[in-house]
Symmetry: C2
Subunit: 464 residues, 2 copies
């Protein structure tokens, strides 16, 4: 570690300009899951290419059958020539979640602003935390380093995708065909959270995921429930019956073999987590709840970090507008996701779900499935030198010990980075539990942004 | 019965003009359940007032807190003066169902046209069968009678509401406060169907209804299912679990006491229904099904006409758009309707449903209900003289015995007519099973319209 106060001071000087740049980026409506926003996603990619070109990167947009990738490599002018210099791959995503229900937002989700909430400055916008604000902490760290030192801290490749919120259909083919472009010594990802607003974290366990959309069809068209109700099967009745059997009262998932590959948490990790000042009642109370609803016998932290789940993310069928309509619908649709841990096999779980539904389907109904690419759970080697140095750098910036944490969410790219590129990932992020990242009124604390930039400066310094 | 060939012949002459008038009426977008169409409903009421004024009625629009009523009384100039002349009340509704999903319509639902389908001429439009086309059969019968004979067949009061498809909130208060205006000897209603395309029917059993919307709330806001899934209760999971328990595998409804007041069908009616040429496989096959899904041990006709049901008419929660969104939603909503028979008590069943849900609700969730006014089932006295004469008149027009039928749907006004005005109702309608009345591509057979007009001429003749 060297004296990097010059770089850190310059980062503080640059903050207003960095916020302006982030706001420009946040104004681009890059909702990847809705085809109506295809051009906006391309605009976001182009914005990144133009910005990275200004700070010593050879940046290109790579078109795909879906939304484009952006890859930016530090060029020879800006990269230290020392042969011992490491090479890092930084990953982020420029696409964002849909914004509905729009009426619950306190402002236009794509008109970012700094608001003061309970004395705390926040950046309010869709994507502020997930992931535009987070990825820009790394970009701004590179910018200021290059500005102060005349070159980047080491060889860097920046890799941004635009399909993270819509199942990343182009990611695996792209990574497979561009391994030489993307390979480095270690990956860095900024898409996770802090332990709390004052304590940074390195996420070392990530749950995997399986996503499945189920469509059950009964009658060939919508019917009048008075004229046909009784003898004609109602697909909503079938759907609710089947989904109602998916989980037992004690929270356990009823798919046969679902818990194969799920291991009990090692005692030392269990102890470490138990020693964290995690307030279950505050966590639940913050979202209007009081009783843990997951598997009984596990702490809330274990239910989020180390236990698998089944969630129904969406359901629809029949008439859902204002008032009543006595329709007996032709179809019912549900979107499910399973969070996986340990060695649970995503494909096997998808197959088991299909069988579970088919086994319970009345002969007169049909079912179809749409699958989202699954991902296995991941555990990082926290004993390695890079993880320890990064932990110390974070602790220095925040003046408190950084935590090795789990993460309830899934970041499938981390699995692909391991499998396709053979690299571990250093998962450092500055999100907070109340960032509302997939909800109305998403925000990112201004401190997450400003100290996030400073944190990456320190981490890069510690590893080079 | 007199010689009414003069009137019938004139009805045939008038048909093209009658179709033009019906098309004008069908172009009015009188969707009562959606507040956006409030003015259209008013326009439909005004259209009726103007039309009825032209054929010897003293017609007025009566505004209500919801959509207006129309009441038209035959004036002294056009009513026979004989003291023995009866007085009939005719009821219909000018409002129509919503049209979604619009993309499944083969043409604009409010741009009516005559189409030829398999050699059969049909009128395609929302409301063609339910109920604009049907109510106009009676209006056109009055028009032609007045034209040919210089006066109406007897004293008539026509009563049209605009809230039938949205729970009729203004109906009971209006009927209660205008009893003198509406009272007559017998009511006539044209909102039911034929036995088949060649066989007319008088509906003498109508199922009642209870409508309930259930909203279950879990977390106070939408959450990320990765970050919160497991410990935080998912209201869709709760909703599907509860709804999944509402019906047993054999189709029986599991609400305690639900079958109180349900009587087995009398043997003679059961025999009459069994002797009808009802083709269960064709009925189900027409809508892509093959296996009766109602209570086992009952024929399909019994499942529709004489057995109670529970249907989920709509369900929604979480993300329901294209693609995936890993949300753990704050609320889930379901709309249910129960069809009632015999002496089932609508209020008691609503209360029992509330209790059923509350008994199964996790302590961390809350529930709210919205109720639609319930109605009891109705059985008409088919042995009365008016019913027998009308049956003979219908048989003469269609050249085959008219059937005394049940009806799966609910027509709450028939109950109100009995309770508030003390009258029985003669339910004659010309709809067919394939009219798709609450679905995309609603139609009304041209023959239903033309012979419907002729049928009312004969029925009015037989009763005066």
């Amino acid at each position: 570690m060297t004296d990097i106060n010059d770089v850190l001071n310059q980062a503080d000087q640059n903050l207003p300009a960095a916020i302006d740049r982030l706001f420009e980026f946040l104004r681009i409506r890059s909702i990847s899951t809705d085809p109506a926003f295809k051009q906006d996603c391309r605009d976001a990619a182009d914005w990144l290419v133009a910005d990275l070109a200004q700070i010593g990167f050879d940046a290109k947009r790579h078109d795909t059958p879906g939304h484009p990738m952006v890859v930016a490599s530090s060029d020879t002018d800006t990269t230290p020539s020392s042969s011992g210099s490491p090479h890092f791959l930084f990953y982020g995503h420029y696409d964002v979640q849909p914004v509905d229900p729009l009426e619950l937002w306190s402002r236009d989700p794509f008109d970012p602003a700094i608001e003061e909430v309970a004395g705390n400055k926040i950046i309010r916008a869709r994507g502020a935390a997930d992931d535009k604000g987070q990825l820009m902490t790394f970009v701004e760290a590179c910018r200021v380093w290059q500005q102060v030192r005349g070159q980047l801290p080491c060889k860097l490749t920046l890799f941004f995708e635009g399909e993270e919120e819509s199942g990343s259909p182009s990611l695996i083919p792209f990574m497979q065909s561009r391994q030489e472009l993307l390979k480095a010594d270690l990956a860095m990802v900024c898409d996770t959270g802090m332990w709390n607003s004052e304590t940074p974290a390195i996420s070392t366990m990530l749950r995997g995921m399986v996503g499945e959309e189920i469509t059950i069809t009964g009658p060939s068209r919508d019917l009048h429930s008075g004229m046909y109700g009784g003898p004609c099967i109602n697909p909503i009745r079938v759907m609710t019956k089947i989904l109602g059997e998916l989980q037992a009262e004690d929270g356990t998932v009823q798919l046969p073999g679902f818990y194969e590959g799920v291991e009990e948490l090692p005692a030392n990790i269990k102890d470490q987590w138990a020693s964290l000042d995690f307030n279950e009642q505050a966590f639940l109370g913050d979202v209007g709840l009081s009783i843990p609803a997951g598997e009984s016998g596990y702490s809330v932290l274990e239910q989020i970090w180390s236990r698998p789940t089944c969630e129904i993310n969406g359901i629809s069928g029949g008439y859902t507008g204002e008032g009543f309509k006595t329709v007996l619908p032709s179809i019912a649709v549900a979107k499910l996701s399973f969070r996986l841990v340990g060695n649970q096999d995503p494909e096997k779980i998808a197959d088991t779900l299909h069988q579970f539904v088919e086994d319970r389907l009345p002969a007169d109904c049909s079912v179809s499935f749409k699958s989202k690419d699954g991902s296995k759970a991941i555990v990082m080697p926290v004993d390695g030198e890079a993880f320890q140095k990064a932990q110390q750098a974070l602790s220095a910036e925040w003046n408190t010990d950084a935590v090795y944490a789990g993460c309830g969410g899934s970041i499938p790219v981390v699995g692909h980075i391991k499998e396709i590129l053979g690299m571990d990932s250093l998962l450092i992020g500055f999100g907070l539990d109340d960032d509302a990242i997939h909800s109305p009124n998403e925000k990112y604390d201004l401190q997450s942004f400003s100290k996030g930039i400073r944190s990456w400066i320190r981490v890069l310094d510690s590893l080079t």
